[in-house]
Symmetry: C2
Subunit: 325 residues, 2 copies
């Protein structure tokens, strides 16, 4: 049996692949490489436990062909679905991207899981499904769910069909609602954005919005530890299991991140802020996230938002230095 | 200017078309006639206010062509989207139907509304987005939203993208969460199901489930009065406006409906029940629906669940007698 990992050539997926392989699991990464990067999987190609397939899971035929290929030899014991368009502003400009990469990927995957009897699903959802619920502390039961970006909308849409599949045929489905996740290999996100801006204007950092947007950040290693904690304690969770994952603190402001990044670089850089309370259409200015459901069962993050950001700034600085050589 | 009414050849859409035309509005019905029926619009073909287009709105090109056709002459002032696959069990067997008719119709419609500057949307959602929340009274803010049918899932998916569109470009979007709606022309639903079963077995009525499933029913005339009440009082509602519509009572049981229908027919019929507490995968056994948000602003239904059922049984009995001649 092997684990199907859709989107395994992305930021979080590649970290998950490494950890699952380290546990001795067989892993088949399926990725269309639209945003994923094959190079970050290079270390695994020599492993007998690892397979890579360049497959667009949102394409009905390609998805079925993949399931068919493995059905007779080493059928999938479970699926992890981490593929999505992670570029929120681009998805607002062109809704077709989120439609295909975020929603249709879930839809076609579920159809094949049913057809081939793969009954365990771990789905990467997002805090973006909650939209802007103001200052209230957001639990898994909070509503109304009115996402304000196409990204959040297509994640909620995906949750909805995962839930219906849970009712009709899945053994279980974990709906992991990710917070902002930081670490390497960074492919997007606020820290990488700042580094890229500084390549263009080395002495000035222009921040989108007024910098008071406050969010919780989790390091990718903690995110994966939370998901694997659930996997190992599946019986303690509901069969259809929406679950917030995040740090326990209330997060940090974007201006704090900008200041730490400038400190790390150690160069004279002026930070310029906008006037809006959000960075872009679909950005949520404040965000309080309850992870009580998860922590009550014994999981704890090793780093809080500040520590996660500091660590990620350091990791991404090194990544960018290596890439620029 | 004219009103675009997608799904206007269906049960609720055709009733809405009649009432809007009666108010002197110009109405363009777009329907792919997959479940809609052109005959029920016959009375309107002679009206200068009425247009019909056989268009599959879930098809990108067909949808754009429709908007293009009207953009120069009489652009759409607002859109009503009532097209969906209303056959829940069929949607469970074949997810492609709900995907295309319920979700993609919303997705393509929103893209064209943005491209052609149509900024007011009334969307027919469903109580099915709530899934099975047990005995709690369900308000618009209730959660978690874990639909248990593909129908409910694709309605929630549609809500999600309507919400994101509300954030990025719509002037307003009403997300009307319909209860079970009864009346004529009946195309589906428990009453019509019973009549059709009795054609096959005239002296025996087999009820799906144990008959204790309890739901609220609204007559179609009350449903439309509620939606037009919102339209006339738009300023009193939020710009992105999810809204439960339903009667004020707690509904009736399926076995009560079966008994009233047998009484109306006035023939010796034995009613047989199943043992399950739900009629099919995706059926919700009990359902308490709060419509406080709507009634607080002054709307009231003219009929309760019992009265709506009695009236609809009578209407559908006459419809079936006429059709069988």
């Amino acid at each position: 049996m092997s684990i199907l990992l859709v989107g395994g050539a992305g930021f979080i997926g590649s970290n998950l692949a490494t950890i699952l392989l380290g546990k001795g699991e067989r892993v088949v990464v399926a990725d269309n490489l639209s945003r994923g990067n094959l190079e970050i999987l290079t270390n695994h190609f020599s492993s007998d436990l690892f397979d890579f397939r360049n497959v667009d899971i949102s394409d009905c035929d390609q998805c079925a062909k993949l399931f068919d290929e493995y059905a007779s030899s080493e059928p999938f014991s479970e699926a992890w679905h981490l593929a999505a368009n992670s570029d929120i502003p681009t998805g607002t400009l062109n809704p077709d991207i989120d439609f295909k990469d975020t929603f249709c990927s879930t839809f076609q995957l579920l159809k094949c899981m049913r057809d081939y009897g793969v009954l365990k699903l771990n789905f990467a959802s997002s805090s973006a499904i909650y939209g802007d619920l103001g200052d209230s502390k957001i639990s898994e039961n909070s509503g109304p769910l009115l996402p304000i970006s196409n990204y959040g909308a297509m994640k909620l849409a995906s949750e909805a069909i995962c839930s219906a599949a849970g009712e009709s045929f899945l053994e279980f489905v974990n709906i992991f609602r990710f917070p902002n996740v930081v670490g390497v290999p960074a492919t997007h996100g606020v820290i990488l954005d700042f580094f890229e801006k500084l390549k263009r204007t080395p002495n000035q950092l222009q921040v989108l919005g007024n910098g008071f947007q406050q969010k919780a950040y989790l390091h990718v290693t903690d995110l994966i530890s939370a998901m694997l904690f659930v996997r190992e304690n599946q019986d303690n969770f509901a069969r259809i299991n929406p679950l917030n994952i995040g740090p326990i603190d209330e997060g940090v402001q974007v201006r704090w991140i900008a200041e730490r990044l400038v400190e790390r670089i150690g160069r004279d850089i002026s930070i310029e802020y906008g006037t809006e309370n959000r960075g872009w259409v679909g950005d949520v200015p404040r965000f309080y996230y309850s992870v009580d459901k998860l922590t009550k069962l014994g999981w704890k993050p090793s780093l809080n938002s500040e520590q996660a950001i500091i660590k990620a700034i350091d990791e991404i600085a090194i990544q960018e230095e290596i890439l620029s050589r």
